[in-house]
Point group: D2
Chain length 261, copies 4
């Protein structure tokens, strides 16, 4: 593929400013570390955007020029403006890929696209996580062995309140005894969505090579494939119908009038 994939890495960038532990692990912000991991593996043109920027850094122009968006948020989901969520949702339905990371399970955009609470159980105790590959041939699992381990992570456990994924790529085993669907995909409109569990801010997860590899695989898997389709609920007047017939019965709308929304 000759033209690089255009990726926008969105980060909340809140805890990096407040918690010394997080600031030390991610001195330029988690978004910059995630971006660095993508650049390292190549084939991408990466920009970053954060909550504190105007329009959270996600202007129409930025989204227009984005093939795949990655999303990490945690403490400030409620501060993301609904009009920006509307805009991101619209672009996903048109075909932009979306990678939702870790605590992004509670991001407005994720709940909006899936329609469920996206709830789970959790524990912050730095335990070992082992991510098993459910389908070794899947593009998102390329370069990963049967499993990989993260020495210290927050635990997320089932039940994970999501609609059935189209495909499951990873399931996690936790030292404390839980399991979790850690890599799952859906399609909404023409947009491909990949949820990837790891990435608690008090651990160096986004510096780990397997995690970087999966996110890199993910953005390529989620790239737009078809044309950008904008649906508009168009009226097809009787004289434009494929088969000719005579109108009958009563009507609410006058010819050419728009429908209700």
């Amino acid at each position: 593929m000759s033209t690089p994939l255009r990726v926008t890495v969105w980060g909340e960038n809140v805890h990096e400013q407040k918690h010394p532990v997080v600031a030390k692990l991610y001195p330029k912000g988690m978004h910059e570390t995630i971006a660095e991991g993508l650049r390292e593996l190549g084939g991408v043109e990466v920009r970053t955007a954060t909550l504190d920027q105007p329009e959270h850094g996600l202007t129409e122009a930025v989204l227009d020029a984005t093939d795949v968006l990655t999303w990490w948020g945690h403490a400030a989901h409620g501060q993301v403006e609904d009009k920006i969520v509307d805009r991101v949702q619209k672009r996903v339905l048109e075909g932009m890929g979306l990678i939702v990371l870790h605590s992004g399970h509670y991001a407005k955009i994720f709940k909006r696209l899936l329609g469920t609470t996206c709830s789970l159980t959790w524990r912050e105790a730095g335990e070992k996580e082992r991510l098993w590959v459910c389908n070794p041939g899947h593009p998102i699992a390329q370069g990963i062995d049967k499993y990989f381990e993260i020495p210290n992570e927050e635990m997320y456990g089932e039940p994970f309140a999501i609609p059935t994924p189209d495909e499951l790529v990873f399931i996690s085993w936790f030292q404390g005894g839980e399991v979790f669907r850690s890599g799952a995909t859906w399609k909404r409109g023409n947009g491909k969505i990949f949820y990837f569990r790891p990435g608690h801010e008090t651990y160096p997860t986004y510096h780990q090579k397997e995690v970087r590899r999966v996110i890199h695989n993910g953005v390529f898997w989620a790239r737009p494939e078809g044309t950008r389709w904008i649906d508009t609920c168009p009226n097809v007047p009787i004289d434009k119908a494929a088969e000719k017939f005579t109108a009958q019965g009563e009507s609410l709308h006058k010819p050419g009038e728009a429908g209700y929304r």
Copy 2:
């Protein structure tokens, strides 16, 4: 089943008050005709609720006592309060069935649960619609022959901007040359959702016996089956973990503290 199924029929009840054609077909409102069709086939205890009532007739108490909710709206989707949509969504995820009818494709609750625009193409010319059964053994298709026809209906055509249904029960053929996925099901949380296309307000569709039969089948198919589960994103502290281990690494949360939302 000895105890009757508790169904709430929600109707927008706007065009019935404004358009003489609609008022003549549905003198007590479309919701009363839909309710009558359900009662006629039996086994149900039906109440109705409308937009103009306090809380749109959908109080906590009403929803608590509802097994399956049917939804018809068209001109006033935007007037449905978001807090009521939140409440209905919560009950669907807990297990309440939802039957979305015709122009309800643009209802906030339907778009909320599916995550897409739910757009389609349309024409109001009273043409013939023929609904084919895609799976004759499906509970929703019981009592329906290979197909049934509606002499005059509004046309809805593909593309219908929905996530892939779990099951497709009906596909429509229209006189003007279009096709449409007219009976489709999804599950969100523990709630079963059935979208059923027919029912434009200027035609006597909800008086037709096959339409009544399908809606009756639909409410029974969508009845809750398991227990009512309310998910809460619970913390599982380390001393409650199934496997014993020692905490390690840094933390954001103090023991017992709630997570972010």
Copy 3:
């Protein structure tokens, strides 16, 4: 529900005759213990059938009178006659429920219905298995807490080579570090299929109350719901078409002739 559900429990009954360990745990055969567990919880009329019987105990008459079939096999999958597999598949497509247990993942009928290899990884070391409920409101999980444990079981690990399940009810955590999709459902034709992992013959798994409860829930979940539909690829001659038109172009078939198969 007043009439009892008619369940046939199929067991291979080979290792019970050969291995003293298995014979001691299941003196009347595993099938009788599974049947006993179903009867104990009630509402069912259970018969058993085994490999060594004529037609493996699965005659047309038996299958006709079966609402849900459970299947356990391990050492003798290859001895199950193809014509019996054809017959069981036909009944599942018509609406009979099917519960596939443990090593039944390699049964001909399971691979036939799913279309994949149904391969997995395994280890026989009597380790602890913990089955987590992925959806606490699901009918198959009723009466089960957040999880239940089996003290000694064979390990089955991912990748499990199956098509994406319609719903995932359980995921297992194993002491040796693996995970597995232990409770999964699909629909083929009108038949509901539930795969449930536990049940290695050298452990007393089918005597455990949670396992019995899940299988009991499973047969009720998998019961037939609609009518029995037998598909036949029928020809619809032009004079029976819903819309009148004149035949044109060339034909292979004479009027009324059957199609190729």
Copy 4:
């Protein structure tokens, strides 16, 4: 993409030899016309294979060098040897794409991968078919307008006895009043499967440009994306387990012994 996609077009090549009408439309065989359509649009390296060749032209070497296989058959499904079907199924599960055309709905390989009867209703009367695009942004629909028409085709009608498709790309409207899911996709293992309805042998369907375009789109959509994974049900002995523990309980297998199949 610089290296061409390697496509094998399989044709039964029976009616072309027997029916003058078919021979006239497809003088070199339908497979050659389908291959020509793919070559015309480029980016592919196409070979053909037919029933009458040794191993039906589908040797291990041919399949090893095939990225996507297209399949047309009608009169001689029963003559395809089971061992060749096994071989094709294995390659699909490993990642080879499969495009099943028209009467291939009854091909052994299609029924094998889907697990259902794949039955439908039909009429051979040369009626008009209009294929509607259900998702204009889908890669398989690129270059196709809202719909396209085929002036003369055999009718295939619902119910089509298939498992729910992952995605629906086309639905057909027929002059005689039927509808059909004409473009549907599934994934089995790592193989992508696309069923495309048109192509009765007595009409010049495979000469039509829209049909050629869809098949060309289809082979690119179905191309393998990940690595070729061969699943083997491997044993993971206790000393290779990720977590250390002590074996307990009874065993059937001695260390290192293979499992049953």
